[in-house]
């Protein structure tokens, strides 16, 4: 039977010829992930079950990224709990402050997730790694606890959807804009329980950072996973990073899809998702009178080096509006160093931005940029739910990094070309 990349990966990890949508399978896990918010519950479940040994200390990643550097005593306690567990169990890929980055930027960068992998993470944006041609999905803490013991997880093989993008991408229209546009079309449950296969000429030319941003938000359409078939861009990305074997899968040309969407993105404007759902996306020009109090450039969606370069291109020689706080958070230490080397920090500082060490921080209303009542933020992160970044009466608009930077300069939501020189 013809199969998609997801079906092939799930079949290979459960020792069967083929995996059909609806089948329940037990699959081997190449890597499982937890963070300082989800791992404590997993550890509690692990200990409650009487386990004392993990299946493989080199196949577990624990990243202290959400409320770190510790934002308060309770967060410090949670981090300490994960730290002790990691030491006791000799967890190889344990990332603490100083090495830590936002998990979904960090793991691909460090070569810990690779094409053909089957990955679970106790974090909903674990679907990011589909950009590398892996099957990767978010689960809860109890699933993580079980996987840490057995190296396996249960899955229902998802139905397959296909999204084909044709045409020519505008300068300021990236992976974030593709996914915001798509969620706007199909809704926040438009891909519920299913796989989003992203394909077509636009995807084939899409740089890896944009692919990661695109797959990152598959969960915002309810999807189990999002995936892009690996190609030369993938091979180029992993060639210096991969330290173990991997496998490149592709979908058969006659694979079955329950739905196919096809769009031409030529001439499309950058997208902005209005409060309070990622599906409320509109072209940026429809948002132009909206004033902002804060701009946040960072997160597992858009805190990568290309995002910082886009923001710097806009901010160079400009000043952040005096009524706006602009917060820039490089997603990993490597991105931080690279941005510094390229002189981007000088541009950000000259413009009046605050630059922080890596953390998920403000994205989920943790710390480093919480909103007051009535305040409005344009953010390059992935969720704009009620109260997501602070007060229940604050508002979050989602965009790419260039739009966020341009908006920081003008004080209202702005198309990058209005500010770019």
């Amino acid at each position: 039977m013809a199969q998609t990349i997801t079906e092939k990966i799930l079949a290979a990890h459960s020792d069967r010829e083929e995996a059909k949508p609806g089948q329940l399978i037990k699959a081997r896990i190449d890597l499982c992930l937890g963070n300082d918010v989800t791992a404590p519950i997993a550890i509690k479940e692990y200990q409650k079950a009487g386990a004392d040994q993990v299946f493989d200390p080199s196949r577990i990643a624990l990243v202290l990224d959400h409320f770190t550097p510790n934002k308060d005593i309770d967060s410090a306690q949670q981090c300490a709990q994960v730290r002790f567990f990691a030491r006791d169990h000799q967890i190889e890929h344990f990332y603490d402050v100083g090495q830590m980055g936002v998990e979904h930027a960090l793991l691909p960068e460090q070569g810990l997730v690779l094409p053909g992998d089957c990955v679970i993470g106790a974090d909903s944006h674990t679907c990011t790694y589909g950009a590398l041609g892996a099957f990767s999905t978010g689960v809860g803490s109890t699933d993580l606890a079980a996987a840490m013991i057995t190296g396996q997880a249960w899955f229902k093989v998802p139905e397959q959807m296909r999204f084909i993008y044709n045409g020519k991408r505008g300068k300021w229209f990236g992976g974030k804009d593709i996914i915001l546009f798509t969620i706007g079309k199909i809704g926040v449950d438009g891909a519920l329980y299913r796989t989003m296969n992203f394909t077509g000429p636009v995807i084939r030319e899409l740089p890896m950072d944009d692919r990661l941003a695109l797959c990152n938000m598959a969960i915002e359409a309810g999807a189990k996973n999002g995936v892009i078939e690996p190609d030369e861009i993938t091979k180029e990305y992993i060639k210096t990073r991969a330290k173990r074997e991997y496998k490149l899968y592709e979908s058969d040309s006659n694979a079955l899809y329950v739905a196919t969407y096809e769009w031409d993105i030529t001439g499309m404007e950058p997208q902005v998702a209005f409060p309070h759902l990622p599906s409320n996306s509109k072209p940026v020009s429809r948002a132009k009178e909206i004033k902002i109090d804060q701009a946040f450039i960072g997160s597992c969606t858009n805190g990568r080096i290309s995002d910082l370069r886009d923001a710097a291109e806009i901010l160079k020689g400009n000043r952040v509006d005096r009524n706006v706080r602009c917060i820039v958070i490089p997603a990993t230490q490597e991105i931080y160093r690279q941005a510094m080397k390229e002189g981007l920090f000088d541009i950000f500082l000259d413009a009046g931005c605050a630059v922080s060490t890596p953390t998920c921080g403000p994205c989920l209303g943790g710390h480093m940029g919480i909103l007051a009542e009535g305040e409005r933020c344009i953010a390059t992160s992935n969720r704009n739910f009620v109260g997501r970044m602070g007060h229940v009466k604050s508002e979050v608009y989602l965009s790419n990094a260039a739009v966020a930077a341009a908006s920081a300069v003008t004080g209202r939501i702005t198309h990058p070309e209005e500010v770019a020189k």
Partner: protein
């Protein structure tokens, strides 16, 4: 198992930030989480709910983050089950793994209003709305999910499986 309680009614896309805001995720204590359950969507929920009450919502309940704090908060708030048109997939998984009964029934979810007295027969697969006197049947959970629930949650299921 038979459940009885009054309903709390919500709309589409109730997300995990509404069920338990991220500002409380610096704790995983069930009672603490329960004390802030539904805070940003319904500030009166914690004051008004009684043991056994039932949350009813429309499409895509539990969308957003993977936080298991969400079903933990609902369970520790002594909510006996959640009825919705549909559930977001990670929430669905977490509910099974932690033993929170959830029911997909668009017809019941459409009929039920806030404050209705409900009777739910989990094994028989029926929901009765005492106000409208309507009864709705629902599909039982898939067998694998029932096995996990019967074992007492995923961890007990896994440890049993490991020993065999």
């Amino acid at each position: 198992m038979k459940l009885k309680g009054k309903s709390f009614k919500y709309g589409d896309n109730v997300n995990t930030d509404e069920i338990i805001p991220a500002r409380y995720l610096n704790s995983s204590d069930p009672d603490f989480l329960a004390s802030h359950c539904m805070e940003d969507i319904d500030p009166d929920f914690v004051k008004e709910k009684n043991a056994g009450d039932i949350i009813v919502a429309r499409k895509n309940f539990g969308c957003g983050s993977s936080r298991e704090h969400a079903p933990i908060a609902i369970k520790a708030a002594e909510i006996s089950c959640v009825i919705a048109d549909s559930f977001a997939r990670i929430f669905y998984r977490n509910a099974i793994n932690t033993g929170l009964p959830i029911i997909e029934s668009p017809d019941a979810a459409a009929d039920i209003q806030k404050g209705d007295e409900l009777e739910v027969d989990l094994d028989g697969g029926t929901i009765k709305n005492l106000r409208t006197k309507k009864t709705f049947s629902f599909e039982p959970m898939p067998p694998f999910a029932q096995e996990i629930i019967q074992a007492g949650g995923l961890m007990k299921y896994v440890m049993k499986d490991k020993q065999e």
